[in-house]
Symmetry: C2
Subunit: 360 residues, 2 copies
Amino acid sequence: MKTIRIETTNHAYPVLIGSKIINQLPKLLIQTGISQKTKILIISDENVAPLYLQVVVDQLNKFDAISYVVPAGDVSKAIGEVEKIITYAIQHGLDRSSVILALGGGVIGDLAGFVASIYMRGIRYVQCPTTILAHDSSVGGKVGINHALGKNLIGSFYQPQFVLYDTSFLTTLPTREVRSGLVEVLKHGLIADRQFVDWLEKNADSLLHLDQEAVSYALKQGIKIKADIVMEDEKEQGIRAILNFGHTLGHVIETLSNYQYLHGEAVAIGMFFAAKLAAKLGWLSKEEEAFYQHLLQKFKCKTSIPKEYDTNQMMNIMLRDKKFKNGQIRMVLPIAIGQVKIEQNIDPKFIFETLNELKR
Amino acid sequence: MKTIRIETTNHAYPVLIGSKIINQLPKLLIQTGISQKTKILIISDENVAPLYLQVVVDQLNKFDAISYVVPAGDVSKAIGEVEKIITYAIQHGLDRSSVILALGGGVIGDLAGFVASIYMRGIRYVQCPTTILAHDSSVGGKVGINHALGKNLIGSFYQPQFVLYDTSFLTTLPTREVRSGLVEVLKHGLIADRQFVDWLEKNADSLLHLDQEAVSYALKQGIKIKADIVMEDEKEQGIRAILNFGHTLGHVIETLSNYQYLHGEAVAIGMFFAAKLAAKLGWLSKEEEAFYQHLLQKFKCKTSIPKEYDTNQMMNIMLRDKKFKNGQIRMVLPIAIGQVKIEQNIDPKFIFETLNELKR
């Protein structure tokens, strides 16, 4: 079992990674000061619950655990769902000393963490991620839900008590989810660690086939990179913004496709868009741009924008993105493999052109 | 102008009190690092807006200010209202650098502060209280809304950039609101400062007639007491709970009366209930109990519970209160004038009896 310690201003917590470590859950709860008398609300979704809810409930047989299952997918990151869970929690007597356990992927982590952050002005929560993608969202304390007008517009910064990552839960993931999750691992390499990028390129096949050894290493490295950045800038005042690499256009594609594109699938296109734009601005060589395409294709990712998407509409959605300050266009662009920078003043003309060039 | 500085773990901010100081608003914004380019969303209600919204808008004529007016009263502390404000904010281009300005009483402070705490994971907000009651809610960072099953069950701890308290705004308050607000001032005296209680008893009439000098002093003292307690215990792990003095039964009465009782009116009954219970337990003398009644009556407060309220139902609502830990009944009870203590193990029998004795 690998342990990474995350330190934030007010709170430190461990992320534990390993195969078949769910049986450590009761011990970890006790160590965290969560006694068997504590009421625990497990929040999961309709995909994960049939596979792993009973496994977790069995581990908690000495605790006062109840569960709530939401529909799978981004549709549950909604204010209506938050309200339903809170009603359920009140009706079942959750108080300030109670605990929420998120069992699922990024959506469940974001939703359950947000509920924990606002229920009775904040109760404790723990995370048991069940996807590769969740390696990203389970570190950094960003929790939240979507608004009809855009993703993640409602939320908080709120840290879990611990994250327990049982990699054996990943083996039931659909192929597309595996690929989508690995894109965020790629992202972590591409923003901060050239060596890790080279390792990823060499191990693409093992990772796509969920070799447990390779996956464990990749998750650990990805989490480490993210944790280092988050520790430096908890509230996203500066450097942390590089974690949004590929996400500006990524969110646009998710929105316009009505979430038919998975998060990682959309971010892959967003990263390639950033590379192409950087090459156009002269910050990235043509060879490096080509390496981006090669790497993403090795991980079976598309790198083009559906040709029916209106470029002006994409621009408008980007301008509404909360990552833009005072209406200025602000983007994370690569300047080398394993290195990015934040740019405030990009001529919208280049963005427009690059979007058009990517359409196919 | 009086200034009190509030220090919390992550954040320090001033509370400024004085008559006709609203013209200090632009200067204060600039001093806080809020430039004239910043988008400011003023949130107010249908009672306050006709009186003071234009006054504030005029002060902000060099800023990019917009406003949103909600119905007056606790009915606006609802998730539906939060959603509407957020939609309005997105549509009007509020981004992470924008600011929310709460112009109103406690409801507006709680609602606007909560919206600020979850909009794009938290944006800055400032408060311009327009009621006496708001002297309480504007210090301490407790923001939030109600749930159909209970008050303040959804919320955050979130601190404003500053509080600007123009006491000239208080002169348009209805008499019942003045009385209700003064109850929270009384509460601050009764939990922590015997001398202040004696001053309040002597100055009851001036305060009820809104003598500006007396009101300014009372607000300053009340805020100081609250600030000292809040600075000691920001997240209500311990001592801060004494601020809930009178509120356990107070919330029950607000709920059962469907908010026909104003907050302070209900808290006054709650404080007298606590005094009577403390006297029954032998912690308060009969004379002190009588002083409580005398003091509350001097401030024109009722001290009885409507006889039609069902005692069992009141007990059940109290048990669901988030101030109870692990299902235990936990109350703040006076042990002298100007002194209270938190008690964990009160025999429900005494609570039941005292409730019955207060019915009239």
